[in-house]
Structures are given as structure tokens and as C-alpha cells.
Symmetry: C2
Subunit: 229 residues, 2 copies
């Protein structure tokens, strides 16, 4: 049985590798920063997780998950996102409130609990932030994502997530009228000030590149490459 701390390290490693861009390994400092601990602490844990055959790690090298380690990590992500969905759909939490509580709930040990929760939620594919929920068998589809800022003019896309998870930003996104899975049409880009003209739910508006850089989208017109890990 893994400790909560060990689970958190595995999840962090997953997020810094296959989840993020196409990087398959992470450095010690990077991992430590992501978890809010000192590099010395992370170093100890890396050695321990290697002993347990959950990660690949060599002195002064980058770390990555083993097949077994990735399986565990995906299980935790699945639990996290199912709980987020439950909190959002059944308990009236807002999407900027769910994460903090899910960080705790993801460590509850009971396979029956998570299976029944999945059933109650009718086997959802996405969490309230638009992130993919891995299946019970551990498959995790990762659709091609980019930012709204990178989207081609004229294309139609939908918002699937955000990069900035601060409550401030999330509340601003809500205010602007953007929602998860809501179609967005990119109308134009002003050459003068780089503002991006979009149409959301019939309503036209302009957003700054900085803002658009923090909106993650999946394009409906680009080739939507889907891979499984």
C-alpha cells in the first residue's frame, strides 16, 4: 500500500511528463518545486520509489514512471477527477472549489467506492475543468491541446481547460462568459494590438493574448490526434 505522500509524488511525476507537453521525464528540482518541498526531500523519495520499482531514476539523471508507477499515478488522477465531478455535479461546488477537496479525497482507499462513484456519475469522460478522466482499466486519452492564443483564425474550437488555476483567474473566466466544453469561434486577430476576436455563444468579444494564453482549447477543425497511454 502506498502512502499519501508516495501517491502525490507519482501523480506529480505523471503531470510533469505524459500529461504536460511531450516530455517523458522530470528533474529533481522541478518535481520538488511542483510538490512544494525542498530538492533534498524529493531526492530521498526518488530513491525510495526506485526501490519500489515505481520510477526510473539514476543519480544526477531525470526521473520517469515505470509501467507499474504510471498505472498507480493514473489511478490517482482518475479518483481525483471523479471526485471533482461529483463535487461539481452533485454537491453544487463551483469549478474553482473542487480541486482542493479532491486533493484529499483522491487518497481514500476503496475500489468499490470509486467504481460506485463512477456509476453514480454515469461514467463521465471529463472533469469540471475539461480534463480527461482515465477509464477504470487505466486508459487515458490525451487529446491534442493548444492555447486559444495559438488557434488559427477562422477555426472553431472548444475550451477544455485553463493554465492558470488561481481563483482570481477562474472567476474572471466565468465572468467573461467562457465555460468548459463551450464552442469558441476565432474570428480575427487585430494586427495592431494582437487582440483576438472571438465569438462565444453568439456573443462577440475581444481578449488579450495574455488571457488567451491561459485558455486551453481543442480545435474542431485541426487534426485531433488522440493518443492513449
Amino acid at each position: 500500500m502506498l502512502s499519501t505522500t508516495e501517491e502525490n509524488y507519482l501523480k506529480a511525476l505523471l503531470q510533469l511528463t505524459i500529461e504536460q507537453v511531450d516530455k517523458s521525464e522530470a528533474g529533481t528540482n522541478e518535481l520538488a518545486a511542483h510538490l512544494g518541498v525542498k530538492p533534498a526531500t524529493a531526492n530521498d523519495m526518488l530513491k525510495k520509489l526506485r526501490e519500489k520499482q515505481l520510477i526510473h531514476y539514476e543519480k544526477y539523471g531525470k526521473s520517469s514512471l515505470t509501467v507499474e508507477g504510471r498505472k498507480k499515478a493514473i489511478e490517482i488522477v482518475r479518483k481525483h477527477r471523479l471526485w471533482e465531478t461529483f463535487l461539481y455535479e452533485h454537491l453544487g461546488f463551483t469549478w474553482d472549489e473542487v480541486h482542493e477537496v479532491a486533493e484529499q479525497l483522491e487518497h481514500i482507499q476503496s475500489s468499490k467506492l470509486i467504481d460506485k462513484l463512477d456509476e453514480l456519475l454515469d461514467y463521465p469522460s471529463f472533469d469540471p475543468h475539461g480534463d480527461v478522466i482515465p477509464s477504470a482499466t487505466g486508459e487515458m486519452k490525451i487529446p491534442e491541446k493548444k492555447t486559444l492564443n495559438e488557434e488559427t483564425v477562422g477555426h472553431q474550437c472548444k475550451m477544455v481547460g485553463v493554465k492558470d488555476n488561481s481563483a482570481t483567474f477562474l472567476q474572471y473566466v466565468d465572468k467573461v462568459g467562457l465555460r468548459i466544453n463551450q464552442p469558441i469561434k476565432v474570428l480575427a486577430r487585430q494586427p495592431y494590438d494582437e487582440l483576438i476576436e472571438i465569438e462565444v455563444n453568439g456573443l462577440k468579444s475581444s481578449v488579450s493574448p495574455r488571457f488567451a494564453d491561459n485558455i486551453i482549447i481543442v480545435c474542431h477543425d485541426c487534426e485531433t490526434q488522440t493518443r492513449t497511454c
Copy 2:
């Protein structure tokens, strides 16, 4: 913020005092046994909890909860029982399965979560084992309980709990047809072999004193004294 371990000690102390019979303090060995730790370990924690003003404790004396400590303990019991109710009512757990998972869930820190759960369950008063769920304001009604073995012949009562929590016993109780909150009529007691004749849901049957001793009931005909703590 209290640690999971500290919370478990407070809850144990509550269960060994006001919850149990009318005993208001518990010994170190008793507490240790209840928590499955060695007396030396419990002793350390008692000193720590006294420092935090959560318990009354003096060297070689019995321990009891302070007002603050009891408040915390009741909060944990509330969470435990609301989660048990959720698992039973919404996720199809059987009543012998809920406790183990609730032991974990009771330590999740989020007042919004527990308020919303309470709302979702429509503010229940009893958990699946028939135990009283403390209110959001920390009131915990303790109805007068006795065992089926102690019930007066001719009286009507209802089963509100069990003393033996083993899966074996609980499954047997189910098999016999007894359910929480189900009315039971005590018809007679055979002087020859002490078997107790009862009527449950129109069905008559006989049970042994040993069995009856593990069935906790609330009498409908006796004076049902209700006190608040």
C-alpha cells in the same frame, strides 16, 4: 488543525465516555486497546492533547474530553455517520461495508463538503446502523437504549443498532430479517430455555439470549428519556 491521529484519539475518548454507558472518563490502557496502539503511545498523545486543551488528564488519572475536545469529537462522529449514510443510500453499500470507508472519509477537511452532503441526504438523523447523527450545531441526542434481551415482554420496540459489528454477525442479522428502525414486538420468553419470541414485520420467530444481547433497541413503550450533550 488536528492530525488524523489526534482526531482518532478524540473520537475514541468520546466513544468510551458519553457514547458508551454513563461513564465520563477512560483509562490509558482502555483507550490504547480501543485504538489498537500500545499504552505508551496513548500516554504520549494524552499529554499532547492536554497541552492543546482538548482533554482533561493527570498523571495516573483517567482522561476525559474538555468542552472544546468534545466539540471536535462530535464533529468527527457527525462526518463519519453522514458519510456512512451517503455510502449506504447513494452508492449501494451494505451496512456492514460502510464503516471501514467512513473511517477514512471522516478526516476530510471541508466544512462546505459536509454541509452539502448533509443537504444532499436531506438532513438525516440516523446512520445506517441506527446511530444518531449529531446536528451541524454539535448537538447529539442520545436516546435511551437497551438490548433486546433486556426488553419487557409485551412491549414494542425498534432495533437501532448492534453491539457486535463483525461482518459475520451483521450478515446473520440481515438473514434473520432484522433491519434498522424496524419495529419488533416481544411476545414471550420461554422459561425453559430463555428463548425470546418476537414478531418482526408480521413474522414470528425465536432468538437466543446471546443473539438478543447484541441487538440494541429503543423501546416505544418505556419512558424514552432523551438527553443532549
